[in-house]
C-alpha cells in the first residue's frame, strides 16, 4: 500500500466531521503545521482534539479554533489564547483538562495495545472524581483509559518511504506516542528520503505505525518565548 503522499491536502483527505484527532507538539514545538493548515482550509466540524496545548490565537491549533472546527479539546494546559477563552466562556467549546503525564501515558497505552493504566496523578483532587481507583502497596492510583483516535497527526524531522521517523530535540514530545496510537497515523516530515537511507539504529518510530507520510513545506516553527543571553 502506498504510504507516500504528495502533500498535506492529499494526506488528510478523509478527516471528517466528528473525528477524534491526536495532534503532536508541546506548545508550538513539534506541531504538524502542514496538516493543521490543510485541515483549516478543508474544514471538518465537531472535531475532538487531543493535544498537550491548544496553540495560540493565530497559529497551531488556534487556527482550527478560530474556524470553529473543534467541539472538544482534551489538553493539559491551554495557555494564552483569547479565542479559546471566548469560545469556552460562551459554551461553544468543551474542554477536558488532564494531567500531562496522564495525557502522555493514555496515548502510550493506546499505542501499546493496553486498555488502561494506573497513575497516582490526580488522587485526592477533582481529576479523580468518578474514576475507579485501586491501592497498590499502600498507595492509591487512578485508572485511566487508553485514548482512541481516528487520526494521529504527527511531525517528525526525517522520515523515509517506509514510514520510519526520526524526531529532533524537544520537538519529539508527544509525537512518537501519538504516532503509535492513531487508527490512521499521518506523519509530516522536514526531510523525506528513500527507504534505506536512514540508519535503522536511529529510528524513533518504526514505519509499521505510520500509514501516510509526506514532506511538509515552509515550516514556520514559531517560538513562543524567545529567551537569550546577550553576547559579551
Amino acid at each position: 500500500m502506498k504510504k507516500v503522499y504528495n502533500n498535506a491536502d492529499e494526506a488528510i483527505f478523509d478527516i471528517s466531521e466528528g473525528n477524534t484527532l491526536m495532534l503532536g507538539g508541546f506548545g508550538l514545538c513539534g506541531i504538524p503545521e502542514n496538516c493543521i493548515a490543510a485541515l483549516e482550509k478543508k474544514g471538518a466540524n465537531n472535531l475532538i482534539c487531543i493535544s498537550n496545548n491548544a496553540g495560540v490565537d493565530d497559529f497551531g491549533i488556534g487556527l482550527l479554533l478560530k474556524k470553529k472546527l473543534i467541539k472538544k479539546m482534551i489538553a493539559s494546559y491551554v495557555g494564552e489564547n483569547a479565542e479559546f477563552e471566548r469560545q469556552l466562556l460562551n459554551g461553544e467549546l468543551d474542554v477536558e483538562l488532564i494531567p500531562q503525564g496522564t495525557l502522555a501515558t493514555r496515548c502510550m497505552a493506546a499505542g501499546y495495545g493496553i486498555p488502561a493504566i494506573y497513575t497516582p496523578a490526580g488522587v485526592g483532587t477533582e481529576v479523580a472524581e468518578g474514576k475507579e481507583s485501586r491501592i497498590f502497596k499502600g498507595k492509591e492510583y487512578l485508572m485511566e483509559f487508553a485514548f482512541e483516535a481516528d487520526f494521529a497527526l504527527v511531525k517528525a524531522w526525517k522520515g523515509d518511504t517506509a514510514g520510519n521517523l526520526i524526531y529532533k530535540g524537544t520537538a519529539r514530545n508527544f509525537n512518537p506516542l501519538m504516532a503509535m496510537a492513531g487508527k490512521v497515523t499521518i506523519a509530516e516530515v522536514e526531510e523525506l528520503v528513500e527507504a534505506g537511507e536512514l540508519d535503522p539504529n536511529e529510528i524513533h518510530t518504526p514505519g509499521i505505525f505510520v500509514h501516510r507520510i509526506f514532506k511538509g513545506n515552509s515550516y514556520e516553527k514559531r517560538i513562543e518565548q524567545r529567551t537569550v543571553r546577550k553576547r559579551l
Binding site: F26, G27, L28, C29, G30, N52, A75, S76, Y77, V78, G79, E85, L88, L89, L97, P99, Q100, G101, T102, L103, A104, T105, C107, M108, T119, P120, A121, G122, V123, G124, T125, E126, V127, W157, Y167, K168, G169, T170, A171, R172, N173, F174, N175, P176, L177, H204, K221, R222, I223, E224, Q225, R226, T227, V228, R229, K230, R231
Partner: protein, 217 residues
C-alpha cells in the same frame, strides 16, 4: 523579607551533588541561577530533556529546543532527549530527586493547591499533578501571603487541590518551614523578620522548637 531571587537562592542550598531536579515555572526557575559551586545538578524539563542548559546566545535560538515554559534553551554535555511518556516515567518512578514548584496554598498536612481558582479562567495543571503525586521530595517556593495579605499556609486548602500529603518543605519570603506529622514546623526566619510576625501571617498552627535561626543566603 526575601525577594523572589533570594527565595530561589535559599532553595538552591537544598541541592545536593548528583541530584536530578525538576524546576517549575516562576520562582523555581530562578533556582538554576544559584546552584552552589562544586555541586553538579542535572535539570529535567518534562517536555523531554534531561540536562537543560542556559538560554542560547542571541541568534542561536532553536525552535526545536525549548523547556516546559516554552522558552528557548540549550543542551549541555551529557544531555538527552526523550518523549513525554519517558519523561513522566522518570517522574513517576521516582528517578527525579527534587521537585521545586510554586503554589497558591499549602496545608499543614502537605496538600498543595496551585492550578485553579474557581470563577477565574483555568489554564490547566500541566505536569504539576504528576510531579506532586510521585516526587520523593517537594519544596514549594511561594510568598507567605497572597495579594490580599491572607496566609497561604493553611489548616486546610480552600482552592482545588493539585495533590495531597506531598509537600515536604516550604520556602517563603518570611520563613523556611517543614511539614511534620503535627503540622508546619518553623525551621528558619528571614533576616529582620520575627517569629511573632511569621506566626501572625500563618493561619495554621506553627510549631516553634527553641531558638529559630536566621536564614543564611
Amino acid at each position: 523579607m526575601l525577594d523572589k531571587n533570594q527565595i530561589a537562592q535559599r532553595i538552591a542550598k537544598e541541592l545536593k551533588d548528583g541530584f536530578y531536579v525538576n524546576l517549575g515555572i516562576g520562582i523555581p526557575t530562578l533556582v538554576a541561577n544559584y546552584i552552589p559551586e562544586g555541586i553538579n545538578v542535572t535539570l529535567q524539563s518534562e517536555n523531554g530533556l534531561l540536562g537543560m542548559g542556559p538560554f542560547p546566545l542571541e541568534g542561536e535560538e532553536d525552535p526545536d529546543l525549548i523547556n516546559a515554559g516554552k522558552q528557548t534553551i540549550t543542551t549541555l554535555p551529557g544531555s538527552s532527549f526523550f518523549d513525554s511518556a519517558i519523561s513522566f516515567g522518570m517522574i513517576r518512578a521516582g528517578k527525579v530527586d527534587l521537585t521545586v514548584l510554586g503554589a497558591m496554598e499549602v496545608s499543614e498536612n502537605g496538600d498543595i493547591a496551585s492550578w485553579k481558582i474557581p470563577g477565574k479562567l483555568v489554564k490547566g495543571m500541566g505536569g504539576a499533578m504528576d510531579l506532586v503525586a510521585s516526587a520523593k521530595n517537594i519544596i514549594v517556593a511561594m510568598m507567605h501571603t497572597n495579594s490580599k495579605g491572607e496566609s497561604k499556609l493553611l489548616k486546610k486548602c480552600k482552592l482545588p487541590l493539585t495533590g495531597i500529603n506531598c509537600v515536604k518543605k516550604i520556602v517563603t519570603d518570611l520563613a523556611v518551614l517543614e511539614i511534620t506529622d503535627k503540622g508546619f514546623r518553623l525551621l528558619e526566619k528571614a533576616p529582620g523578620i520575627s517569629v511573632e510576625e511569621i506566626k501572625n501571617k500563618t493561619e495554621a498552627n506553627l510549631i516553634c522548637d527553641g531558638e529559630i535561626p536566621e536564614m543564611k543566603l
